[in-house]
């Protein structure tokens, strides 16, 4: 079976052609990946055929901060069909300022090997 994909790793957006076949246990077996400029594209193709994963970014509310929001992102991709569950879990957090970029907000979200980290430092609003 031939599948065409657009690699999303970098702006080159390589057009990948994947040849795969269905094994006896129903899983796809990848035979060949064409069109990738770098090994990351081959890895992306493999992952995309087996189980498409994505990272995601959003924000959480910050109380008494100089900014009302701190942005967050996933450190590793998680299965694409769990993105909205991840967003819902992240949205349940509200933090008190100050918060620092790099802080882990949620470790191993939904049990996956991916943390949610804060990507923007928000100092506490001075009271005057």
């Amino acid at each position: 079976m031939k599948t065409e994909l657009t690699c999303i790793i970098c702006p080159n957006s390589c057009q990948l052609e994947i040849e795969s076949e269905q094994t006896a246990d129903g899983l796809p077996l990848i035979q060949n990946v064409c069109g990738a400029f770098c090994p990351k594209g081959v890895e992306y193709a493999r992952q995309e055929i087996l189980s498409p994963c994505r990272t995601i970014s959003t924000s959480i509310a910050i109380l008494h901060g100089e900014l009302p929001l701190a942005s967050v992102r996933l450190t590793n991709p998680i299965p694409k069909d769990r993105i909205f569950d991840a967003i819902a879990e992240i949205k349940s957090y509200v933090l008190e300022a100050p918060v620092s970029a790099g802080t882990i907000l949620i470790s191993q979200i939904l049990g996956y090997n991916s943390d949610v980290i804060i990507t923007k430092t928000v100092p506490r609003k001075s009271s005057n």
């Binding site: 994909l5 657009t6 690699c7 999303i8 790793i9 970098c10 702006p11 080159n12 957006s13 057009q15 069109g35 994505r54 990272t55 995601i56 970014s57 959003t58 924000s59 509310a61 900014l67 009302p68 929001l69 942005s71 992102r73 694409k80 993105i83 909205f84 967003i87 970029a101 990507t119 923007k120 430092t121």
Partner: protein, 423 residues
Amino acid sequence: MKTPKETAHAQTKHVDVAIIGGGPAGLAAAIQLYQNGIHNIIIIEREKQLGGILRQCIHDGFGLTRFSEMLSGPEYAQAFIDQVETLGVPYLVNASVVHFSPEKHLTVVTPSGLQTWDAKAVILTTGCRERTRGALGIPGDRPVGVFTAGVAQAYINLYNRMPAKEVVILGSGDIGLIMARRLTLEGAHVQAIFEIQPYPNGLPRNIQQCANDYHIPLYLNHTVTQIHGRNRLTGVTVSQVDKDRQPIAGTDKFYPCDTLILSVGLIPENELSREAGVALDPRTNGPVVNEFYQTSLDGVFVSGNVLQVHDLVDYVSLEAERMAGNVTAYLHKGALPESSIRIVAKNSIGYTVPQRISGQSDFLLSLRVSRPLTDCRISVCQDGKEIAFRKLKKAIPAQLIQLTVSTDKLSSGHDLEVSAHEN
């Protein structure tokens, strides 16, 4: 009593380099200058914080070239801001340059009053702004609910305001695609993206991860022909267009929506350049530069999105650093070589940067093709002889293409011609 002019004159500060704009290009330039030993500099930023547009670009994908990891915009900016702070590079925030003369004399409005600065060299890193509804001239009412993608992004990512429920997006630029995903994740329903061109304007990876992933259809050869709504937007009329981008009668369809997001192009912000008399290129809408990133005004340099709109901030930083090296040379030598060789964009080439070169040093040529091409060869020729080329399986207008041109193959002072041909 002193007149305002005398007061201003009395306070004039002198620097080697004034950098207008503290976004990714300005920060990278300042750090590079500082590391080159040029310490008498100032970054002038009109926003409350340094970082520019990256502050609202919370999605990841930044830094892969530069830091070999996927960072969000705020993290990418912070890496540079931290370096500015550590080195002690001087900067002003909440400071807006309102006047800039060819003599490199700046008038700056700050919360503590008017300041004037004199610089030996000026770097313009003012970025770009979004094309608006007014520039497109879409007919119809003028309700609330028509936003550029960047404005919607600022509402959601900076101000914690959700501006939309039912959304239509016009234009397939990268920010529009990013916002299609962002709005969807925040609970809005994005009905469709319409693009007037026969090809998408954004990068294929963004079409995949922002539109296709969320089942948002992208219609090419379509545009919004009417905006409806008395107070809030109630819907838009969308029509198919022909080869000349004219709406085809009978193809119009009404889409009820409360929000129209425009992602229809970025325009380098050149109000200051224009006022100072910097020559602009109508194709890039940015200044004409030589390979040193020097404009038509001696000692005035540009890089980043004010020069040409980039796809990737990593390339902005790299361009600004190359420019800073040339600014350093300019300060040391007092002048840079004359650039009398023109670079002419020919067949299927939308534009080139630089537009002029001295012919004395190798340089990086940036360009965009004017239409999608497959299996093509981009050639740089002088006197009919090819002196540099790049082969590409696929070239699209959405992607900035770069190639290094070595000048030892130059045989004369004649123009260089850049063209693209499909095999």
